[in-house]
């Protein structure tokens, strides 16, 4: 009987812990903040090759970060990120871009391990 009570007690504690863990909510995942971008948000750039530089408030790990260019048709291409850029920069090059609306979808991992995401919309014209 005592064993059963003890078992029930342990199960209750575990169930409570699991429920509380489930409850632990999300913080805003915006640790590395984009402070400057080229092209800038809403800017229009010349057709052809476009140099891309995203600058953050903190050091990032370029190897664990990613950059996608999404065209007006919704198709995304992954851009190769320059591994030798500044410690707080994500640098890439998009080649032969025709006129149209684009957006850059970025994801970076800060040096402390936190991941942030966002996007920059621009036009090629």
């Amino acid at each position: 009987m005592r064993d059963n009570a003890s078992f029930r007690q342990r199960v209750s504690v575990v169930a409570l812990a699991v429920a509380l863990l489930l409850l632990l909510p999300h913080a805003a995942f915006a640790h590395a903040v984009l402070v400057k971008s080229s092209p800038a948000q809403g800017a229009t750039v010349k057709a052809g090759d476009v140099d891309i530089t995203l600058t953050y408030n903190s050091r990032i790990d370029a190897l664990h970060s990613s950059l996608h260019l999404v065209g007006a048709d919704g198709k995304a291409q992954t851009l190769a990120v320059d591994a030798h850029a500044g410690p707080n920069q994500l640098v890439a090059k998009a080649t032969a871009l025709p006129a149209g609306a684009y957006k850059l979808e970025w994801q970076v991992q800060a040096s402390d391990g936190h991941i942030s995401r966002g996007e920059v919309a621009f036009r090629v014209g």
Binding site: L20, L23, V33, S58, L63, S65, S66, Q109, G113
Partner: protein
Amino acid sequence: MIWLLNDFDLLAVLLHAVTLSLEALLVGGVLFLLVVGVPGGADARALRACRRGMEWAALAMILAEVASVTVESLLVIGTAGVTVAQALSGGPLLAHTCSAFCALVLLLLARFSQDRLRGWVQAAMLAAAIGLLGSAVSLSHAVSRMDHRVVLTAYTALHHVGAAAWIGAMPFLLIALKRTDDIAVARRVIGRFSRMAMVSVALLIGAGLGLAWFYLASPSGLYGTTYGVLVMVKTYLLLLILILGAANWYVAREAERAPARLLMRLRRFAEVEVALGFTAILAAAALTSQPPAVDLPMDRLTLPEIAARMRWETPRLKSPPFAALSPATPIDVAVKMAQYQPPAASDTNDMAWSEYNHHWAGLVVVLAGALALMSRFKRMRWARFWPLSFAGLAMFILLRADPENWPLGPRPFWGSLFEPEVVQHRAAALLILAFAAFECAVQAGKLRAAWTQYAFPLMCAAGAALLLTHNHTLATGKDEVLALMSHAAMALFGVTAGWARWLELRLPKDEGEQRFAGYVWPVALMLAGLVLLDYREM
């Protein structure tokens, strides 16, 4: 993979909170043994129990670090398109591995060392603790800064040492005191701990002020950003802990007068100090996932904006019709959009719907607090079934909290769980329902085991603490800060209510502090309800 992305983000923050707590506990355990327990001549039985405690904490740390590596690797493999080998390289992964290794060393040392710790065991324990500390600091804001990196890293390390030597070591003081029969030994151990605690408080506060100087940089950084609000939360908790610490210091000095009774009070206050300390560590984990205020100079709240939002208005007790809400985005589109885009701004009806939910919930909480207060009077014992009001609240949350999802909206039950906010609401509804049934059974005398009484204070305090990291997905930074302010106030009242009830149950009966705690918690519950009643989204 994208489907699980948000929940994995949630899990990563959760694991960070767990590893921060365990780091404080393990480093605190080592400091307790080396600075207090062994040189203070604590009983062998007490030291053995402390080492058992460290073993469990070390095992939990290893598991938490393995889970962290798994979750973070899956996140970057699934979203950044890196290979497994690339995912398993890099600074953060190295820090997790180092932390797990140090925890393993501590586990082995605690498991296999003899009662009187030899010199080399003590040195190895200290080295492992320093390794744990270094790993945790390397995952802090300081290392990723572009400026003042060395100074900020030093402040962060000192802040961690202060927290570990005070909050992390205190559970081991409780373990040791419980197994110490000799009052003279207990007094010696308490005396050494008090001296270590005073130094660690100075370190904690000094380093915290240094970090605040750099990360907040201005008064508006304190009141106008989410980072600043969380700093205020930590400050409130620190003040509560300091008040309890001061009470304990007084009790320790008076311990000769009535040792057994005063030591009991000291243990009860220390339990709450520990709990509040770990709540502060949870707030610290939420803080590390926010950008420091100094990096967000734009879009800050101003004092007039805060005053305007705090002004009391008549609660909204009439709901807009369901048909007037914005149409729900199909689940597959919502999942894709949630990856990179901030949420779209809510329209007026959506906000009115949310305010109506918060205001009715506030009324229920005020009612529960008022009934709990009334039940203290002999003629109103019927009011002791106040938890029943929470059952209605649970159903209300389940039905209305997420109108775009099942049961009201078109998104299916399982599909809706991609969004952490929905998962939280549903888990909260279940917890509240379970709690209402549980506490009613306790009040009715159907559950008599002593531990069953603690379900309410524990769930109230833990649920409120977790609220500190709850962010509504709002469109602008200012709205997020205002929402966090409401949540933080509710959380702090909830934490106060939970631990005041704990003290009422645990302190010796009919003493002044015990009676005082008995009035504090219903009032704190009502105040939390009033904050909900004043919640606004527009």
